[in-house]
Symmetry: C2
């Protein structure tokens, strides 16, 4: 389970991140999102993607969001050995590639939380704060923590963006 | 693409395999087969499985058989890092685990062909002869080769079994 909040970045936010958190890695993440052969992920609020970055290739399933204030959701991540084969396998199973999401991500760590400073192609800059938890037992504590970090970075929890980059890009391209 | 024939083993066949081919590896293969959330793989003649053996974990998609004499079909194999996560990911996507197929497989190599001597739990002993090819260009040549090897092992191409172990087990359990 990934407890996660997202905010639109403001000028200078990266310096504030650097003051409280430790830099881990910078990477270009190229994600390809799929829709399901017989249910609409837009309606079910799920997602399936294949990600390629310099650390490897991952297939990720995301469940529906679990609360109203954050974008927290169940995640199942599977490392795989081949990007094109992963895409082909899901296409053969009837999944339809719907959109690519490409971003330059800088990852910072503070305790058990991760802060991502993202430059998303076609969307702009965002900050995501997330904590991975096992099961749902520590959900409220983790949620408090990510909002506390958000506050430290000058974000108001009211401005938390619950939409995924995929949804934001779909919205932008619909207009 | 996997060009493949299968025969019921007879007593002594393994000795004949050893005379013409080189032993590669023996392993216990534990396969879990899934059905699709919105099409019946029994009807479409496709398959999706997660395999666990001592070499690792693999997700494999198999397309419909492409001819009437062999069990040749397209295969997409993806190495993954976690057996339980792979199963959970497909279950979350609506795939239903239908049956486990467990076998002790001894693999032999002869040129670009593989001979498998399989002891399948609940079914008995079988021999599979297969050649992997890229695309369909060399299909007929590969098919001739696998039947040639089958002949060397004393099998008559008329007795080629086109059903998968999954199908044979389903059949047996239906009776």
């Amino acid at each position: 389970m990934e407890v996660e909040v997202k905010f639109k970045a403001y000028d200078g936010v990266e310096n504030r991140i650097k003051q409280i958190a430790e830099f881990v890695i910078e990477k270009l993440e190229e994600d390809l999102y799929f829709n399901h052969p017989c249910r609409d992920f837009k309606e079910s609020d799920e997602a399936l993607r294949v990600r390629k970055d310099k650390e490897g290739i991952k297939v990720t399933y995301k469940g529906a969001k679990v609360d109203k204030e954050t974008k927290s959701r169940e995640e199942i991540k599977l490392k795989v050995d081949d990007y094109n084969k992963a895409i082909k396998l899901f296409e053969k199973l009837g999944f339809k590639a719907v959109r690519e999401v490409v971003k330059l991500r800088k990852i910072y760590r503070i305790g058990d939380a991760i802060i991502c400073y993202d430059k998303v192609k076609g969307l702009g800059k965002f900050v995501e704060i997330e904590i991975e938890i096992e099961g749902k037992a520590n959900f409220e504590i983790a949620k408090q923590k990510v909002f506390e970090i958000a506050k430290q970075l000058g974000f108001d929890s009211k401005n938390s963006i619950r939409k995924s980059y995929l949804e934001l890009l779909e919205e932008k391209n619909r207009v």
